[in-house]
Symmetry: C2
């Protein structure tokens, strides 16, 4: 089994990309990653596209085949990988195995979504197609609704308040102001709001106890990485950033069937697998990109990943340890909350941010000299989770 | 890199499965394969679902996550793989790499489609979503239309007649009469038609020169295999059927952009890759399952796979060498033409048929003592093709 490195990374702006099709978005992110790697595109022998909504949102299939044509990668093999909002993490895992197995040497993994081709309730309905069709979807449950129910239980059990949620939102919005790719970085307007925790607490309700600022936006965007064997990175004169470990685990499709709906078992299992494969423990993690589609999820994932005990993240929120300047920064990119959440892109975008941070290329939001990082890509409502441990090797 | 074997196989009936949802179909095929392998489901650590139309046809996403819950495989990792009509082949390739890499030991690959949730033109429109959106789809091109244009060029260049196409249809319908899983096996009605080549030649036109009997039906159905390391097959007392090689290659999305639209380069490249990895040449193939969504494709693929020279398959048609009793049987299952074509299932169903044949379990349609077989799973209109070489090792 070969060790696998991230040779190049790139992404598009996240936000409302009115002039771009899904294919434009995937192509642009891919080209940025190819340029960053400094690789001859002819060397790329496999492409994985992470995408969830090509069919429902864009009425397209087989987009991986279109992409290799559009950006000149024929005759590379190409498939689309879908695992709901964790499609990006799954595609990276599959790319890692393709290189580790020895079958392929240079794998482009690109995630993208064009969600704003539909408007209003249709975007929420689209995401809800990942719920149980007979036990959830037909009753009108949506992901914000699930997150609200989950938040009620979690906050009561572990002593969180709306103010804790607001502080997560404020931190991530502040981080996003330093991320030029972020969707929500409306400097003046956002600064006026996020400088006032009360304003964030009191904005419009979404699904109680969650309010508008507890939720990620609906975004267009793409992100891409190039994977290769660790021992070939030196040919390209790039820093050696390895996928030291990955983990993936599933749980019941419905929240209702879990013994304890506040226990995100798949997050814990996926992280434990990733740590074990990387030969580390949670204590070795220097920073993390977590899947904060809702503020409550940053809290719950930080705790289920073993970075904190259950209920323990509130101390980090209160002390500011989760800030870029803290001892364990969480979501320096701004997270899904503020960078945005084009669902197929998200898991890849997490790896892009981590790579930039590990290389020391994160600009104003650079964390001081990190070596090992965790990403958690949360599919469904925690029913299919992918975790990655990325590490700077030299 | 570990050698990878097919431990178990199973499939549902193909046809109009009115009482089954997509999840029912995937679950049923999976359970048949698990039963055939004789494996404790807890050993399955990864699931790949091959599906193309969950979003557009069934308004569902993240079906892999639902499947592991539905059939009791939690916490196994699970993703959906989509590569148009070659989704099944792609998912097998990805499963092979997962086992070869050493990351996973027992991988369930299940393909399925519930196409008849939509009716009439919507099924054809769905498949057309794999075409180029600006250069093809908006002008109303469909896959039958493409196949018709291709057939005109190919038949003129290589001297094929409508009678040759009809003979392919007749052969595959006769084979399907011996396949209890096949969609089109209406014994009496079919026998009346397929005993008369003139009746097949003269049935209703579809896209000239192709007529109704040159096309596969629109089918529901599922097929599944269990992959494992070759050296673990003996624990289960099963024959050792290995994925000796796979290949995958892409070509231009549009037919119009190819230097020679009759040259299916991706078929040739994918087969050459698969032969090379298996350490064989086309001469070593004992029989093949080809992607005859249209009769012309069986002809063109047999020739592009190197089983015959260009134009050479007509001798096999005329002599009957491509029949089950011939020296190089093609589509003993009945092919897509008669077994049916639930798109996500097709590539997996090809591997299921080949496994049955290599084990000697193919009943009335059993080929005499085959050892090495080829499958060709044709995505798009030949723009993304997956080939597999399967071999009985002992």
């Amino acid at each position: 089994m070969r060790n696998v490195a991230i040779l190049g990374v790139g992404m598009t702006d996240f936000g409302r990309l009115e002039d771009d099709t899904l294919m434009d978005i995937l192509s642009s992110a891919s080209i940025h990653a190819i340029d960053d790697a400094g690789i001859d595109p002819k060397l790329i022998d496999l492409v994985y596209v992470a995408n969830m909504g090509g069919g429902i949102l864009n009425h397209r299939t087989a987009i991986a085949s279109g992409l290799v044509d559009n950006i000149g990668l024929i005759p590379a093999a190409a498939d689309t990988i879908e695992n709901g909002p964790a499609s990006g993490g799954s595609a990276i895992k599959d790319g890692v195995m393709a290189v580790a197995s020895g079958y392929y040497d240079f794998v482009l993994v690109v995630g993208g979504e064009k969600m704003r081709d539909v408007t209003g309730w249709r975007a929420t309905d689209f995401v809800a197609t990942l719920t149980h069709p007979d036990a959830e979807y037909i009753y009108g449950i949506t992901l914000p609704g699930m997150a609200g129910m989950f938040a009620n239980l979690y906050m009561e059990k572990y002593g969180y308040t709306r103010r804790h949620l607001a502080e997560v939102a404020i931190k991530n919005h502040k981080n996003a102001l330093m991320n030029p790719y972020a969707h929500v970085q409306m400097d003046i307007a956002m600064k006026g709001i996020i400088d006032s925790p009360d304003a964030v607490v009191n904005n419009s309700p979404l699904a109680e106890p969650l309010h508008l600022f507890d939720s990620c936006p609906v975004s267009d965007g793409g992100a891409a990485i190039i994977l290769c064997p660790e021992d070939r990175v030196k040919e390209f004169n790039k820093p050696v950033i390895c996928v030291a470990g990955f983990g993936q685990a599933t749980d019941t499709l419905t929240l209702a069937e879990r013994d304890d709906p506040t226990d995100l078992k798949a997050v814990t299992l996926a992280c434990e697998q990733a740590y074990k494969r990387a030969g580390i423990t949670a204590k070795d993690i220097d920073f993390a990109e977590l899947h904060d589609a809702f503020t409550i999820l940053e809290i719950a994932e930080a705790e289920h990943a073993g970075l904190y005990k259950k209920g323990g993240y509130k101390k980090s929120i209160e002390s500011g340890d989760n800030k870029i300047t803290g001892s364990l920064p969480i979501n320096p990119s701004g997270g899904l909350k503020s960078r945005g959440h084009p669902v197929g892109a998200t898991g890849v975008a997490q790896a892009v941010e981590v790579t930039w941070q590990l290389r020391g290329e994160a600009g104003k939001r650079q964390i001081k000299n990190p070596r090992t990082a965790l990403t958690v890509n949360f599919g469904g409502f925690g029913n299919n989770v992918v975790a990655l441990v990325l590490r700077r090797e030299k």
